[in-house]
């Protein structure tokens, strides 16, 4: 098999190199010196593995519980779609790859290797690119994680979710707290400094004290990256139905808010930087891939239901498109086999729409939107022009929720927790400023 030919040495070398590259890119961004406009020749790549062993009670993602996966066919289709979309996009350099799902750790390491090799062939996948795999804790994680490392994965995101077995059961997870800690330890041994864990908060009947206890335990054994996710009850999930029927208490938003506030304070104490609403890193261990989303960089999405945002090669004035692939795996595979890709919908993003995304995504990060970053997308209408004169913004500044200064526009520590309220003020201001701007002469036909 071709994929297995990927030399293990390369994979091991990748991890160190990727870590260096990550730090460099973040530093570049923070200085704003290397900005060359949103580059169309570079992109991140998301790979969706749609299968799970079992349905979690809170998850409404696009996932399927198959009787048996035809992995060879799936692998071949992922490879084909990666090649097709890379060709369509004209992307020459893939800076990060993220295997998400579903449960991509259920895929064979060979599938992961095959996709990475195809990417490297179709475009360039530098040795220092971040390659993340979402992995669920298991009772015997060691050898399998090592095999993923050999296949080219250099970062793990572990869906640990809770360190309380009762809660794990409530969430419909297949693992125990013990499995979680064991998997975490094994992952750290294999990918030192490159392991992230997810912890959920705001579960039905969850109390602040015990939850903080879990976080404290986790801080004692985790690596340099933690994500804290508040449970959101999604229609169509078992948990939603339980709460709806009253068989489970509704999560208390007040308690969830308290967990979030105290949790992030605890992480700050422990030297973690909250670089995004739900993401915390120390020693510069930010996720490059996710950073691309919040900076509105280009990304390609392959696999059933994957989303992408990129400008097709040769498109007039580099118009970016939002793309979504066919949801259902079998249909998606049929389409990939027939057309080379399973894109179901392509929606061109207008300039204003893109700016709205720059605003909404950028403010999720601690650096917010720098003037340079904004300028890459909109050189004519500055952040000052849009937000500088608004009385409503002034109120938010005075309240200490928002900052607008020589660096750019960003949320304060308090503001970050209520960003969705702030955006309801900011988005209309952007739309208004856009409508009132002096229209620039129509460019290039």
């Amino acid at each position: 098999m071709r994929a297995m030919a990927l030399p293990g040495a390369r994979a091991r070398g990748c991890r160190a190199a990727a870590k260096m590259a990550q730090r460099r890119r973040y530093a570049e961004y923070a200085r704003g010196s290397q900005s060359r406009g949103p580059p169309v020749s570079r992109a991140a790549l998301y790979v969706h593995w749609p299968y799970c062993e079992k349905r979690c009670s809170y998850c409404n993602f696009n996932k399927y519980i198959p009787r048996g996966v035809e992995e060879a066919a799936m692998r071949s289709c992922l490879v084909t779609e990666a090649r097709t979309l890379l060709r369509l996009s004209g992307v020459q350099r893939v800076e990060s790859v993220f295997f998400g799902g579903g449960t991509p750790s259920l895929a064979s390491p060979s599938t992961v290797a095959a996709v990475l090799e195809a990417v490297d062939q179709a475009a360039h996948l530098p040795a220092d690119s971040e390659v993340t795999l979402e992995a669920n804790p298991t009772s015997a994680p060691g050898s399998r994680l090592a095999a993923f490392g050999a296949a080219g994965v250099n970062r793990l995101s572990i869906g640990l979710q809770s360190l309380d077995d009762t809660e794990l059961q409530l969430l419909g997870r297949t693992h125990s707290a013990r499995d979680a800690l064991q998997t975490l330890a094994e992952a750290r041994r294999l990918f030192p400094g490159r392991v992230s864990v997810d912890l959920m908060l705001g579960l039905p009947a969850q109390k602040v004290g015990p939850w903080l206890g879990q976080l404290r335990t986790l801080l004692g054994c985790c690596d340099d990256h933690i994500s804290l996710y508040q449970l959101s009850l999604e229609r169509g999930t078992a948990l939603f139905t339980h709460v709806q029927r009253g068989t489970l208490p509704a999560p208390d938003p007040e308690l969830a808010a308290a967990m979030y506030q105290e949790g992030r304070a605890m992480l700050r104490e422990a030297g973690f930087r909250q670089y995004e609403v739900s993401n915390f890193a120390r020693n510069g261990a930010l996720s490059t891939h996710n950073w691309t989303y919040w900076q509105c960089g280009q990304y390609l999405g392959i696999g059933p239901g994957a989303h992408g945002r990129f400008a097709p090669h040769g498109a007039r004035s580099h118009t970016r498109e939002a793309r979504i692939q066919t949801l259902e795996p079998d249909n998606w595979m049929k389409e990939v086999m027939r057309f080379g890709h399973g894109t179901r919908r392509r929606v061109p993003l207008g300039r204003l729409e893109l700016l709205e995304e720059v605003l909404a995504m950028g403010l999720r990060t601690d650096v917010g939107i720098t003037h340079q970053h904004w300028g890459q997308f909109e050189p004519e209408l500055s952040l000052w022009d849009v937000f500088g004169v608004s009385q409503e913004v002034k109120v938010l500044l005075v309240q200490g929720l928002l900052l607008l200064d020589h660096r750019g526009l960003r949320c304060s520590w308090e503001g970050l927790a209520v960003l969705d309220c702030l955006l309801l003020t900011l988005l209309p201001l952007l739309q208004e400023a856009w409508a009132q701007r002096t229209p620039s002469p129509v460019q290039g036909g």
Partner: protein, 669 residues
């Protein structure tokens, strides 16, 4: 002489200019409702078969006054008034005997559903008794005291009534109210005990009640089953024997009372008239005593119950008249018609309608405004006792402030809007018209009167500028099985009512009379009474003027800023409980914002109730990666769009929903 009932109630007719314009538009754009369509169809059939071909136009001249009887049937809801009317119509051959004759005179869906009569109907019955042909005019009256102006107008065209009482339920509150209306109009009263066929019927007990409460000897009661037709013939004989013929003069110049009017989209206004003097026929020129307008009569006839043209109508008779009136305001209930150049003294008792319950009405969505407007116009064409004023609320948009004769009237109006016009509306909590006696010379000059009526709480004058405030009061009659007396009395006390009378109408039924402030019964009194008495207590009320009241204006504040839409006038003793309830409802429906919101009720500068809406501590989507962006942006933009429509009180954004939850009538909960 006939004595039209002029009881100085709050009724009569006041049509706004707006409603008048509506009627004109209605003429141009006919769109019959299902019920009217059916009525119109049967009318067409009548015209085809009865009036033209079947026989000559009826010659009413052969009915001398001595052979005419004008009467009404009055009863509590569901005691069988309409069923008795059906039987009388059948017995006299006015309608065929079929199984389908169910409440023939109740044409509206709401009437049949609720077992109440909203719109009075009239039917002329021809009946042979002891060799003599009689003309019996049955004037069906609305079945509720809300419509007592209409009842009183209908009664003023009568010399007697059939007072129908259910043999099982006995005298109920409305029986009492109806009895006094007839009694004060000095009409002959024939008690009819109905439903004697029922298993639990106890006609002897009801006879005793009638004797005790109304002072009518028990042998005067006729015991019938309208459903089975038992003894109905005796009722007709009693009508002839016990009710006197009208005292009128055919030779005198025409004097006709308009006691009802309806609007027909093809023929204009159809006025129901009772002739006190003289004769009227097609081609006559007539004048309205109220408007002084002159019309030429196009058609006269009797109602059986559909219009059947006749050559003439004579003194003492009851029928209809069409004279090119384009609008019901031209044929106001209580008005007098006379012949051109032969003016007569108008009949007494004409009053303008005084609505006693007001409510705001708004379309749920402003895009439905025009549809709702046309529905309201169409309804008011035939129900001119509803007053309509355009109104607009910052929160609810454009709408109307409607005045109704009473609560049932309001509910019926709303139900007809929904059923007949498929219009869904926001109806705000009803209020009553308060009054203030002004002391400030400046204000008196401004209003040009010393006593003003306050419909809009925003116009409530400050205490320093008034001598006293007045609130409308009603005399309520409650009849209840005595086991509930204690609970009923507690309820009445809680509603600031003062007991006026209490009597046992039989061994275990009590009749209570209380003087109620009207505003205490407009919202949920009836429901509370029904629920505490397991449905057995009945309630009715009549106007009892105004009384002095310690009224205050209550503001609702959001972080200190008053909310214009929520200003209310309340009695001082009720301010705290009302304020607390409003604050609680607001708290439940106000979305959190970036800061804490104090929801307060205040009288003057004094805060009487407070609730707090806590600030948002966290409001941000937890997961936002590549696949979430589209959905997230869509959601944010939709929210931002919605936010633009929110009403701002200070810096607080209040959704329309919150206003609706606070303002909407709570009785449907």
């Amino acid at each position: 002489m006939w004595t039209p009932v002029g009881r100085g109630r709050w009724h009569g007719r006041a049509l706004t200019v707006w409603a008048a314009a509506a009627a004109h538009r209605g003429l141009l754009k006919p769109r019959p409702t299902p019920t009217r369509e059916a009525a119109a169809k049967s009318r067409t059939l009548d015209r085809l078969y009865s009036s033209a071909d079947r026989k000559e136009k009826i010659d009413l001249s052969r009915f001398s006054v001595e052979n005419i009887r004008n009467f009404s049937i009055i009863a509590h809801v569901d005691h069988g008034k309409s069923t008795l009317a059906d039987r009388l119509l059948e017995l006299t051959g006015t309608i065929d005997k079929t199984k389908n004759n169910k409440q023939v005179l109740d044409k509206l869906q709401v009437e049949r559903e609720r077992g109440i009569t909203v719109k009075a109907q009239t039917a002329s019955l021809f009946y042979n008794c002891e060799g003599k042909q009689y003309l019996l005019n049955l004037i069906d009256t609305p079945g509720h005291v809300d419509f007592s102006y209409e009842v009183s107008r209908s009664l003023s065209a009568c010399q007697g009534v059939l007072l129908v009482v259910d043999a099982n339920e006995g005298i109920q509150a409305q029986t009492v109210a109806n009895f006094f209306l007839a009694f004060e109009a000095q009409l002959s009263i024939i008690p009819v005990i109905n439903k004697v066929d029922l298993k639990n019927a106890d006609p002897e007990r009801v006879e005793k009640q009638i004797e005790k409460v109304f002072d009518i000897p028990s042998d005067e009661c006729i015991k019938i089953s309208a459903k089975l037709g038992t003894n109905v013939e005796r009722v007709l004989q009693a009508v002839i024997k016990r009710i006197p013929p009208p005292k009128v003069h055919r030779k005198n110049p025409l004097k006709a009372l308009v006691f009802d009017s309806t609007f027909d989209q093809y023929r204009g206004v159809i006025a129901n008239v009772a002739l006190f003097d003289g004769v009227v026929s097609k081609g006559d020129k007539i004048v309205s005593a109220h408007t002084k307008k002159t019309y030429e009569v196009n058609e006269v006839g009797v109602l059986n119950p559909n219009e059947q043209p006749t050559h003439k109508l004579y003194a003492g008779q009851v029928g209809y008249l069409i004279a090119g009136m384009k609008d019901v305001t031209e044929a106001q209930i209580g008005d007098t018609l006379y012949l051109h150049k032969q003016p007569v003294e108008p009949l007494p008792g004409f009053k303008s309608a005084k609505p006693m319950v007001f409510a705001g009405m708004y379309p749920i969505d402003q895009s439905e405004y025009n549809n709702l407007k046309s529905a309201v116009e169409k309804l008011t064409i035939n129900d001119s006792s509803v007053t309509v004023h355009r109104d607009s609320s910052l929160a609810l948009g454009a709408g109307w402030r409607l005045g109704f004769l009473g609560l049932l009237h309001m509910e019926v109006f709303n139900q007809r809007l929904e059923q007949e016009y498929n219009a869904s509306v926001i109806l705000t909590t009803p209020t009553v018209p308060y009054k203030a006696v002004l002391s400030s010379a400046k204000l008196i000059k401004e209003y040009r009167e010393k006593e003003i009526t306050i419909i809009n709480p925003a116009q409530f004058p400050d205490k320093s500028k008034v001598t006293e405030y007045l609130e409308p009061v009603v005399l309520g009659t409650i009849i209840t099985p005595d086991e509930y007396t204690g609970k009923v009395m507690m309820l009445c006390q809680a509603r600031r009512a003062v007991q006026k009378n209490m009597m046992y109408i039989d061994q275990n039924r009590v009749m209570l009379k209380y003087l109620f402030p009207l505003n205490e019964i407009v919202v949920d009194f009836y429901d509370s009474l029904k629920s505490l008495s397991s449905g057995y207590a009945s309630f009715d009320y009549e106007d009892a003027g105004y009384q002095t009241a310690e009224l205050v204006k209550m503001d609702i504040l959001l972080n200190g800023n008053p909310v214009e839409e929520l200003v209310t006038i309340v009695h001082k003793d009720k301010a705290h409980s009302v304020g607390k309830a409003v604050c609680e409802r607001l708290k439940e429906s106000l979305p959190r914002q970036l800061f804490e919101i104090a929801v307060q009720a205040a009288v003057g500068s004094k805060i009487i109730a407070r609730e707090t809406v806590k600030a948002y501590r966290k409001n941000v989507l937890a997961k936002c990666y590549g696949g979430d962006i589209t959905r997230k942006m869509k959601l944010l933009k939709r929210q931002a769009e919605g936010k633009k429509k929110l009403r701002k009180i200070g810096n607080i954004e209040v959704p329309k929903d919150a206003f609706i939850k606070v303002l909407r009538t709570q009785c449907d909960k």
